[in-house]
Symmetry: C2
Subunit: 140 residues, 2 copies
Amino acid sequence: MLEEKLENKDLKKAGLKVTVPRLKILNILENTAARHISAEEVYKKLLESGDDVGLATVYRVLTQFEAAGLVIRHRFDSGHAVFELDEGDHHDHMVCVKCERVEEFVDKIIEERQLAIAQSYGFKITDHCLYLYGICQGCQ
Amino acid sequence: MLEEKLENKDLKKAGLKVTVPRLKILNILENTAARHISAEEVYKKLLESGDDVGLATVYRVLTQFEAAGLVIRHRFDSGHAVFELDEGDHHDHMVCVKCERVEEFVDKIIEERQLAIAQSYGFKITDHCLYLYGICQGCQ
DNA sequence: GTCCGTGCAAAGGATTTGCATAATC
DNA sequence: GATTATGCAAATCCTTTGCACGGAC
């Protein structure tokens, strides 16, 4: 089906051989309600679908995807890393400390200030992250 | 000496019994050139000074200090947590990915924007962190 | 057929915990 | 003296690695 073909292209573009585990994991990342998902959760979803993929492979594939620029790895305060598809649009994150829901946002002004500050320190930014922790509307 | 007395007060204020390991660790946090230091580094410094404190105790004490609001725990991308004394003045961090040096900064505009954004999502901020990763002037 | 990817189990690093001893108040 | 803290070793959590086998190109 069309969807699979698109994913094939994604993998090939990234220089990765097209294999069943990689396709399945990419599919989960693309079709999961929560855009931000841990390796363990990916693994559980695979098991639920009856797919026989090892947790080690999940980590390996996610790490390769990260290196290939397909996904972004976040280390929120929760202890485990969470992964999200990198769709090219940078954004920051608001994390609910109760339900672990993640909200994304962008703010031009903040982005500009960050650059200006780094520049004033002679610092070359390679990456940055802004995490707001708190309680989301639903959990209050 | 005066210094020890002050630390005694800090600990008592925090509701913590005054013990040798706690005093020593507090002292290291106060007198270390790098304000941001890992549990392992605290432990090494204790060993160097000939103090017989276990690594488990270092972790326990740092965690208690965190709970008491005496220190802040950061989870930079480096894999291990780093701790810094909480002197009450909030600031953000710029971390050099080469030498792991940490620079602190504050920006009123960014702080304001964060509040405004959270508010617009009905989100109650409990904490937030902004990490700029990059290469510091010295490492370029 | 060659090479890369995978599953499994075992290793790894950072941090936490159980328990008997030792210190504080 | 009662209670809390410590040291040590073992346990735990998340993640990575070694190795023999299976699948992609």
